[in-house]
């Protein structure tokens, strides 16, 4: 009887094993290779690798995710005795990494630092500060796609014991004091948290009891600050060896993770798992370039995405100084505004919707900025139907105009109101004039000299699109800001 039961258990375990292909990366070495991080467009893979007993950050670049050679990041980042475990925002401009005995002062032991990409190089290193770091070991950062929530591991007292997972959010005043996530943590070591770009799908490693042995990968999800009870990822992701750093690849069925299982090149190696059993929600990647409309030069500019349904500013990022590229991850099913600002240029604003999708896809939105001195831009201001009262959702854009006017005190502008083709010409002309006046009134109330602002109502006389579709009419209903040349 006993023998039959044993066979039944073995059979049950076998049928529960997932059919996942585990393949080591070509970049693995005889030393430790771990903490994989794949950036926007999947064109750069950052890893942490051991070299002569020290850990350094490396990057591999490829157009087709065929990772071959590694380049070590510069000394600005890699000046510590140990450096690595990186998280980068989707725009590729801001990095959080961990370092032990870095040249930049810390609070004791391993700390978290930030870096910015300037002219293609990671530099401008700063310690994340006392809200995040402690005199203890603080490492393994991961950051949400909007750059606003940071997760990391720390062995400071106050958790459940040993190393625990902590969370902090970014406000205008800076990072909030990090707090442990009780439901995820255990009395053992809980390391390498990772949040996927959908800001919900969560993974981490732990050597708590009840796993396959050593450190195992655990899956969870988070929504509105509530975390699901973590589940062991099971075999073949987990083995009796150690598994860490489970990284979910956006809009794909693959993941990377680190393991020191037998059969690798030695020590920790990075593996690719296909399919990833812990699928994230589909996300939409909005990518584009910011360029000078006249010269075509690539520009680094501040790009701001706002959810128009909630009014929440989803992300503020900067397009790359060298190639002008920006990237932001958005959740389908909402309406958004996109603005781009740069000193010396007229800002750009537009709105767009992202339909629900199960697949995830990329949207391309290239932005052309016009140098100050001439040009026009469409303003993201909203009015109720047949009214000229500004909706509250217009306030961010109106504030943007106020800042722009204050930064350029010699400029004068013309606010031009337009309507679609429905209704009486004279009525539309009057409505468009009144809408332009509403915008002027807001600006004057916020300190802009009214002699710098002209208003014109064009009604339906200057459409952008001549079609009579709802989309065309929506485009035609607008208020534009036009720079009045100095002469």
């Amino acid at each position: 009887m006993k023998k039959l039961i044993l066979l039944f258990i073995i059979a049950a375990l076998s049928t529960n094993a997932q059919n996942i292909e585990i393949v080591p990366l070509e970049t693995n070495s005889a030393g430790d290779d771990f903490a994989p991080f794949l950036t926007r467009n999947k064109s750069e893979l950052y890893i942490t690798a051991e070299k002569s007993g020290r850990q350094y950050l490396f990057v591999s670049k490829s157009g087709d995710m065929n990772w071959q050679s590694l380049s070590q990041l510069g000394r600005d980042v890699n000046s510590g005795t140990q450096n690595g475990s990186v998280a980068i925002t989707p725009d590729g401009q801001y990095m959080v990494f961990a370092a032990y005995e870095h040249d930049e002062d810390g609070f004791g032991r391993t700390d978290l630092y930030s870096a910015r990409k300037v002219d293609g190089e990671w530099t401008d290193i700063e310690n994340l500060g006392v809200a995040i770091n402690s005199p203890y070991w603080d490492s393994n950062p991961t950051i949400t796609s909007d750059g606003r929530t940071l997760y990391f591991s720390s062995d400071r007292p106050g958790g459940k014991g040993n190393a625990d997972i902590y969370v902090s959010t970014r406000t205008r005043e800076g990072w909030t004091k990090a707090k442990p996530i009780a439901i995820l943590n255990s009395p053992e070591d809980d390391l390498t948290p990772h949040i996927a770009y959908d800001n919900e799908t969560f993974t981490f490693a732990s050597n708590r009891a009840g796993g396959e042995g050593g450190f195992d990968i655990y899956f969870s999800r988070v929504k509105n600050g509530v975390y699901e009870q973590p589940q062991n990822a099971g075999s073949p992701i987990n083995t009796s060896a150690n598994e860490y750093s489970y990284f979910i690849i956006t809009n794909s069925d693959q993941a990377y993770f680190s393991s020191d299982r037998t059969g690798g090149k030695g020590a920790l190696d990075i593996y690719q798992a296909t399919p990833n059993p812990h699928e994230p929600n589909a996300i939409v990647n909005v990518i584009g370039t910011v360029t000078d409309e006249l010269s075509g030069d690539m520009l680094g500019a501040d790009v701001i995405i706002t959810n128009l349904n909630t009014g929440e500013e989803i992300g503020v990022m900067r397009s790359d100084d060298e190639d002008g590229e920006y990237n932001v991850v958005l959740i389908p099913g909402d309406e958004y505004s996109l603005t781009a600002e740069r000193e010396g240029y007229l800002f750009h604003s537009e709105r767009f919707s992202i339909e629900n999708t199960e697949e995830g896809y990329d949207i391309r939105k290239d932005i052309k900025l016009t140098p100050i001195g001439s040009g026009r831009t469409n303003l993201l201001v909203f009015f109720d139907f047949d009214k000229f009262t500004l909706q509250d959702i217009s306030i961010p854009e109106l504030q943007r105009i106020v800042r722009f006017m204050n930064k350029n005190p010699d400029l004068s502008i013309s606010l031009e109101g337009h309507t679609d083709d429905r209704g009486d010409d004279a009525y539309n002309k009057n409505l468009s004039q009144q809408r332009a006046n509403s915008v002027k009134e807001y600006l004057v109330e916020n300190g802009i000299d009214d002699t710098r602002i002209k208003t014109v109502g064009y009604g339906e006389s200057k459409p952008l699109m001549n079609e009579q579709t709802e989309e065309a009419r929506a485009m035609n209903r607008r208020v534009e800001m036009v720079i009045i040349p100095a002469n």
Partner: protein, 295 residues
């Protein structure tokens, strides 16, 4: 020497536990430390080193029969500073252990001065001895010589910057010993004779003598070094180091001479010098260039 060894092993114990890293708060498990050190990524360094010795000479002097206030008593000890320079080769086998070798041109210099009594013979205007007594005089000596040092060390890395070296040092003679001796009379009525055959006419109050002798013996010592690397860039570092060299072999064989500096007033005495040695405390700066294998 015992104190230095104790400090060395205490530091070794403190620093040899696994260092934390960005993945694990307690670092890599000890069992994996040597297994995973990558030969593909092994590192060696070459470079230059310059520094200064603080030399500490000593010998045990015995007079038979005992002779008090001999001017030679000052030669019981001596100290001095001298420079050295050389090249080095450094290689790490694992994260903690490695090998270090130095080849140096090492100058040794030390001396001392002190007072004692010597026979003083005074002469009248006719050149006849008028008085014999003891007079106070000063004896000063300086010895200079050089070696070619070959130093072979086991290296221990406490951290990636802080290291220690321990091992044998071989001192190969590279010059003669030059001894500069100065004797000064502190008694206005007593003088030294430049020509003992014509003492009355060759009186001087200060007598300088230079003696050159063979530096015969290759010496073996033990060296202990503590150093710290300051990286200028990824592959170049400056490493100030503090060394102590304890010589296991004597500077010279035991020597016996006749001390007749007070023979006229007291007696001649047999002076034996034993345990003749010179140890060295050194401070140096090395300029090192890391040469690593690729990943």
């Amino acid at each position: 020497m015992k104190a230095y060894l104790l400090l060395f092993f205490l530091l070794l114990f403190y620093f040899s536990s696994a260092q934390e890293d960005v993945l694990r708060p307690k670092g890599k498990p000890q069992s994996e430390l040597t297994n995973t050190y990558s030969k593909d990524a092994s590192k060696f360094s070459i470079g230059f080193e310059v520094g200064g010795n603080y030399n500490m000479f000593s010998q045990d002097l015995t007079w038979n029969p005992p002779l008090e206030n001999s001017i030679f008593a000052v030669t019981e000890s001596g100290s001095g500073i001298s420079p050295y320079f050389g090249v080095f080769f450094d290689m790490d086998f694992t994260q903690i252990f490695g090998f270090h070798a130095k080849l140096q041109y090492n100058t040794i210099s030390y001396g001392n001065s002190g007072e004692g009594f010597v026979d003083c013979t005074t002469f009248d205007e006719f050149g006849f001895i008028s008085d014999i007594r003891l007079a106070n005089s000063e004896f000063e000596y300086q010895e200079n010589y050089s070696y070619l040092n070959l130093e072979l060390y086991a290296k221990i890395n406490f951290t990636n910057e802080f290291f220690a070296l321990f091992g044998p040092t071989i001192y190969i003679p590279a010059s003669d010993v030059e001894s500069e001796i100065t004797q000064r009379s502190l008694d206005s009525e007593c003088f030294f004779f430049e020509d003992p055959n014509d003492p009355a006419n060759t009186q001087v109050s200060e007598l300088n003598t230079t003696i050159t002798d063979d530096l015969e013996y290759t010496r073996i010592g033990l060296g202990l070094t503590l150093g710290y690397k300051f990286y200028i860039n990824e592959n170049v570092y400056l490493a100030p180091q503090l060394h102590y060299h304890y010589m296991l072999t004597a500077l010279n064989e035991n020597t016996t001479i006749v001390d007749d500096t007070q023979a006229l007033n007291v007696y001649s005495s047999q002076l034996t010098a034993e345990n003749i040695t010179a140890n060295h405390l050194r401070l140096s700066v090395a300029l090192g260039f890391d040469i690593m294998g690729g990943m």
